[in-house]
Amino acid sequence: MRNWIYGVAAASLMVGMLQAGPAEAFERVEGRKVVVFGGRQAIPVLDPHVRYDWSTRMMQQAVYDALVKYEGNPAEIKPWLAERWETSEDGKTWTFHLTGNAKFHNGDPVDAEAIRYSFERGLKLNKGVAWMLKDFLTPENIEVVDARTIRFKLNSPYSAFLSFLPWWYVVNPKEVKANEVDGDYGQKWLTDHAAGSGPFKLKRWEPNVLYEVEAVADYWKGWPQGEANRPGGVIYRIIREPAAQKASLQRGEADIVEGLTPDDYVQMARQRGVTIQDYPGMTTFSIKFNTQQGPTADKNLRKAIAHALDYDGLVQIYNGAAKLQTSPFPDAIRGHISVPSVPRKDLAKAKEFLAKSQHPQGGVTLEYYHVAGLEEARRIGLLLLDNLAPLNIKVDLRPEQWPNMVAKGAKVETSPAMTSVFVTPISTDPDAVAYQYHPNSHGQYFAMSFYNNPDVTAKIDTARRTSDWNERAKLYAEIQTQIVEDQPEVFGMLQNRRWAHRDYLKGFVFSPVRFTGEVDLYPLWIDAK
């Protein structure tokens, strides 16, 4: 009887899926169309100096502006609140000249004092974005030269300085100070309010449900799609389940979604009225070894594992929507080189390395941790299990909640032998990736391997303090080659970034430096009656 019920239900499911037709309806506010973005992740705190992740940053960028902005593919830093800037010869002093017409949503001008206050706030709160600059910049060394000029004096040269500025959003000091409680720098208020100058202003904030922003009609920078085409606003709606995201897109309840499964993307690409955006991303997938303790402290064993893995299988898990890593650095990072010795499947070589290791006959069992519920990571674990069998190495698959994985990876004693980790660099500057291999990063999830090569560490330190790009490029090439040689991880693949949207949605611009599902909402518009 139960089989019969399941049969009927499955048939209904299939019929439903096959016959689902596209809907053509958009939300409208005051006669203008509103873009509906369906995303999996909530935005608990909007404060630009307290938190960031892909969904938070997407909305922060909608309501706030920064001195500069990342745009395009490859990502380039473009003038924004700052129309131009210059650097001193020693690379320690940066002077930015502000555009004269930028104004906050309440009409106040965006002046140098607003910039100074915003950087001071970010540094003093010591949360969110603070890590990017705190080692090089103190609030006392930010100088207001005049209303349109701001100067930063760094403690020491920091070549990646500019690359982080797009994520330092500017708040209106007057509004924030007016809402301070017990000297909290307005943190409580800015959790679900905004004091920005961006192309959108905050309209509705319903935690765990939706967040709505309204287009600023006279946005100081203008609208790239033209005033006639600019949307009335954007609704970011939380749709957690991939199946519900797909259904919402089909039904027209969402104009763009970001969280479909690899199979769903393939299926939706065949659906009339739907466009798939598919780009090589900057998110690396790697299997981090614990290089300090246990069997994987042995470099030869690590190399044996790296040469036993079927790399084509990795790409197949994503239905081909991924590209193999050719270096520890993603391709879109400045100074990336393809390291010739990066391992590919070669069982004979794997056996050679194994023979040189402390476990020449294999006979070890290694834990492989992956995020519970992340199907792709689990399937990669199964691939590993299969591929390591010829080396007589057993793999113990351990699904774990992300917070617990992070906690395990924080200490060398508890860091697993193998952990699957996805990492998205914060900027296109090579320091953003190289520093993950610096001992100062130990304790963070991307440094679970506890990699420590004094030569590499010294080169990372030198490169981040060097202004001359040619010199830096040479150092980063050496760093990449040495990391590959040391094999602190299996260098896996760069998963494509994908979105599915209705074909009436225009203005989508991909930029690899954005996080997983993050989209620049500013140029989007709906081209339909």
Binding site: I5, G16, M17, Y52, K127, W131, E212, N404, V406, K408
Partner: protein, 336 residues
Amino acid sequence: MVLFTLRKVAVLIGTMLGLAALTFIITNVAPGDPARLVAGPDATNDMVETIRREYGLDRPLVEQFVIYMGDLLTGDLGRSIVSTRSVMEELARYVPATLELVLVAMTLGILIGVPFGMLSAVYKDRFIDQVTRILSISGVALPAFWFGILLQLFFAVRLELLPVSGRLPLTALAPEPITHLLLVDTLLRGDFETFREALSHIILPAIVLSFPCLASILRVNRAEMIEVLQSDYIVAARAHGIDSRRIVMLYALKNALLPTIAMIGLRFGWMLGSTVLVETVFDWPGIGLYAVSSALASDFKPVVGVTLVIGFLFMITNMLVDLAYAWIDPRLRSAR
């Protein structure tokens, strides 16, 4: 009766404190570092410490526990480390949505389960009995998340009759709250358009949530009715030529209802727990969804808060069931 009620309330308070203590300990000894998670993937150790200090996570667990229990006695459930808001404020936002969903689902379960259980017993082994048995087995067997997705695909995508998820359309605004239950508030405010929208949004999640409950009520009521219909006093009533409808509705159903009411009480608590799955599938902004997102982020205080709310509602329901027992069965009243 007053003594009975006071005793029940004392037990309720004791149980709540025990529940809070137990949940606090379980969630805090579980692995995971919420401060590091909230600080962000690139945060340095001193940034993580800033968060720890702010939320008192740098103190010994025993001290944290004493502070938490002390705050609890004053009605303060602490602050969510993820959203930075007061847990009490957040619960006040999410509980009504869950309560509304559970009440609608429970109403559906009772309105369908009781009559069909009765019909199934009266027409045992006939067509209607076979149909209701299929219904009851399906209700117990179908996984909620799968059933939910199935209904979404069929009614929302295929037939375009109902919305996929959410509580209201994207641009619709909820009326000024009176009870915080959307269906009730829209009616009280005379906003029938929003009422219609709210109703269309709640139908699918309520069906999914009610299905297992409906099945249990149906099965229990059927079994009890079959037993009661075979008892001597029913046979005697039939022998006296009393109308069959009167026998079933007046004599049999009332006696068969006692275990059904117990089942309803139990199922209410179960339903509150099941909202975790249903609310996730339908993005229903209630405590189930809140509990899931908090647990996944190792945000312990909301998890304890949700547990307390569910525990409280469960115990209140059981108290009401006890009172209903006494109302239905005079023997229990006199025994007390």
